[in-house]
Subunit: 335 residues, 4 copies
């Protein structure tokens, strides 16, 4: 049994991690930590686990962690994460990190969008945890940077096109709409129910932190620089991201060829499904699946992808990465 | 033109007051105040009024208020309200107060549920602003205590039964579900969208502050002490309160007799409508109406009423009270 | 492995059954049937199962059923169900029936609320599938009548009080609010999104079919006739039922005694959790759990229970029953 | 007083028309018609008007119409509309038509997206009712084609850019998300609450009927052919359309210049507001306003506009058109 710790277990990704691990037959939760003021019995912090999980969420004790766990799901925010990850690695654990701290390989870009980077050594070694695109790197990695939710959905939508060099690299527009759980557990005016309900709005215009992450993945896949205009929106639902991606083909490619291309790409992928009609976010809610539909419209290729932002966009993908790192069945606990 | 000031204009009731007064042909907004940190142009505080209202929300200046307004809609929270209302009255204004401070006539009861009362003089003189039950008191009043949202819906549902002494006075159970706007504008964990969405829960069990208010109204109407078990719940929608009221009839009364009783009671009321089928909260959303349906079920009388908590449960009723106080058409601005 | 067929697999309970059985380690789906016009690959009927379930939904063939399955989850509507269940039993299968056809033991009551009963022989032999109250009957039963969603939530909320004869048997009022999935998959005006959204309303006033079912369970538990005023409502969310139950105690019982009573009752129950604060429907969404809180309010006992209407209120409970019938771990596939 | 008839009054646009006209001080509802099976007292068809509107909805009688009304709001679906409009005109009424039948000037395009056109004579004479762009045509028109909801929001978002020839005419991508009321009152599986709730999906991929309408408006404004890739989506809310429009500027234009351009364009427009931050659909819900924000992002210009699809996207705009046709204050009844 893989013994799993969750660092920063008191948020939505923590809760989702507990939920998934409760049904994972080769991993078990052994240690949960949070800030002192957020500690307590799991069933008090998350009533949905009453009678299902007898663990406590405790302040982090590195010795205890080292003794009790083989791997840490590190659910801390950026900046905080890179101050803890080196210690977790030193304690002998594998780490799946949910923050942005080990995702952006170019330190200057990271520092432009976030803060000063304080752990560039581990950054170099971290694998980028999008298995469908970088599975080989993840195998045997000690530290995996779990991707952002938007970059996961957007990248899977266009990866086959980029891999085959079929689109203009400056033509990509990602228009995405997310559910509200992506905003995290801290109450705010924007996400106050009477404000967010019956509402929909754009945000992060021109400067969302997932833009350079999408560009990095796209460029890696294409083997050359790809620029992406990424525009996120938030809508009145809990879970899910719909990415509508517009790109300019280099030359004509029929819908049949597109379908074949995507089918070939996804054939061996357990969690990516190519659809023949447009997908809906509810089709994948609560699952680790990504559904994709791609078609020609008025001279452009339009790709649609849906994921659950808390599962394939966060915790499910982290467990998928954990499974790969430990060499067990990749779908364990996730299907 | 009645010149209207809103004291505490930066919350949901403030916004609703602006909206209603913009279409009131005999009243005009002249002065809006809020705490300094919540001030600014109306269109910046509430984008929905961009191009519709050129006023500023300013810190309260009593001299300016006295000069600019004939009446104040006082949208302050309890305790704060009773520290301002005496000044507003001294400044020569009529006051429609939205807080609980002037509603509960028994100071001991008020102090049990709220805080120490600091303005018992004005409390004695305040009219209770439920026009359908206390219209005569409201006419010419200087200070009107605008009722709570739950008490409005619950009291209208059972007033005809109490007036005619048809039900056991210890048998009344009010089971109510409100939308979320009743919680006000301040973000909190319970009303954080990913928590409140797809959710429904009871609260205020056994101790909600509207319980004694409902009992006071019911007792006034019945002319004797009435006790009420009041249980509120909150559900995932913006506006509306559904009250389902269970009572024990003293003797058999047919559904036809019930309908006649309610029709007679509501005949002259512009804002209370007796339905022949169960009402839905959406039937009255955005309006000052209360819809009621009443019927016998298994030896009890069950009354259903719906109102919009922000309109008939707050601002609409305040404007209705203002209209009565100033002797103009009661429905002005509201239909 | 228990081989499971789903009869009437094309609705919400069918989809939920597939979902649960996909993660059941001692049961496997072998045969799915529906009306001819609703047949097709599971992944076409329910896109959420794309890549997760390779089965077809086919028109029912009794020979094939007999050969392929040990047990049938019969998700047909009432009346239709009792025309098929005898054949399923004759085919040698155990049957967990989701309809009302085998729930109401008094044929006259059944026929008053539903239609003429055409299979009274099997009705007599059917076990009532509420494990927490009738587990012994279910063990070894050939036919289990899976309870209605409302009766499940309401009965669990008050069973300990009835068992100990602590409340007046004519005093029980069940005020319940359900999510919309209880209405099934067939579009209708009431459940059309722009009508149902932002809405809440009562229905089935005085005549809901679950009223006699709740009374039957309550009377069985109490060992004497119990009458219940049951008033359902529907609110704008997918899943969950909140039951708020009001009853008159025969004599004073403290909150501590109530908590002890419920704790004792639920101690050995895997799926019923006694809470110390009010539960919310979202606490149990997607799970087979029932959370209960009970307290004294103004001379009455008020019990709150929450369940997921599609899981503990339907499919989860059916699987729980199946597990009991086959003598395997009761929680298998459900936690 | 302008005497107004509503033809096809039993749908959402009919209800919205009644609501607006009840507060219009220079127009009064005199005649409401619908299919025989949808007739009845307004308060029975729409409970929200109980006590507010004493009219009946009746089967259409042209003589009565001619006698009772000066103008018809024709809320019929396409194809049906063009079979009635000639009769309404012959009856001497002005007509504001909500359908697509008189919007598309190119009959071949109309027939490609809809059906054979049967009233090309009136098509030629119809004014296109987007006042901000074609006000002069509307003045004095006998027949006004009220625009589609998407075309209204999308066109206003980019009109200033097109008018000044600032963008590449083949670069426009309109990504829009609508609320559900746009789907009309007829229940369907997609809009069944348990399916639509918590969901978001694209539709009309490559072939939505509003695409040629947007192109026609854009081309008219630009004075040359403009092509538009229009991709609509639907989300889980009642009202509102957010259009996110991406275009390629011909040359650099600063954000300050963009703001100035839009401010100049909208200065005299009562219902179009230029924002300095991104708008949200809730900012305009229930109003006839369109809020716009425009900015440069990564070499493209991105325009955001929000409207209420039932008001500025349908009924509000129709009343605005009616006001213009009759030469009264354009904002009457709408602010």
């Amino acid at each position: 049994m893989i013994r799993v710790a969750i660092i920063g277990a008191s948020g939505y990704t923590g809760a989702e991690s507990i939920k998934i691990l409760l049904q994972h037959s080769q991993a078990e939760l052994t240690y949960l930590t949070a800030l002192p003021e957020e500690c307590g019995a799991v069933e008090d912090v998350f009533p949905q686990f009453k009678g299902r999980c007898a663990l406590q969420i405790e302040p982090l004790d590195l010795d205890k962690l080292s003794e009790l766990a083989d791997v840490a799901l590190c659910c801390l925010p950026h900046k905080v994460s890179m101050s803890f990850v080196p210690k977790l690695l030193d304690a002998g654990l594998k780490v799946i990190d949910f923050s942005a701290d080990y995702r952006i390989k170019d330190v200057a870009v990271y520092e432009q969008y976030y803060v000063k980077h304080t752990d560039t050594e581990n950054l170099k070694r971290a694998a980028f945890g999008l298995p469908e695109l970088f599975r080989e790197q993840i195998k045997g990695a000690k530290l995996v940077a779990n991707p952002g939710c938007y970059p996961t959905g957007a990248s899977l939508a266009i990866a086959p096109l980029l891999k085959e060099d079929l689109i203009e690299t400056e033509s990509v527009i990602v228009n995405a709409v997310t559910g509200t759980s992506g905003a995290g557990m801290k109450p705010s005016s924007k996400f106050h129910f009477p404000n967010m309900n019956e509402n929909l709005f754009p945000y992060g215009i021109g400067n969302h932190r997932h833009m350079p992450e999408i560009e990095q993945i796209a460029s890696d896949v294409a083997g050359k620089k790809v620029t992406v205009l990424f525009q996120p929106h938030v809508g009145p639902f809990d879970r899910g991201i719909l990415s509508t991606v517009y790109c300019q083909p280099k030359k004509d490619i029929s819908n049949e060829q597109l379908l074949k291309l995507y089918d070939d790409f996804c054939e061996a992928e357990p969690f990516v499904q190519v659809r023949k009609v447009a997908p809906a976010v509810k089709d994948v809610a609560g699952t680790n699946y990504c559904h994709i539909f791609v078609t020609n419209v008025k001279g452009r290729i339009v790709c649609f992808s849906v994921i659950d932002n808390l599962v394939k966009g966060a915790t499910g993908q982290a467990i998928q990465n954990m499974n790969i790192v430990f060499g067990i069945e990749e779908t364990m606990g996730l299907s």
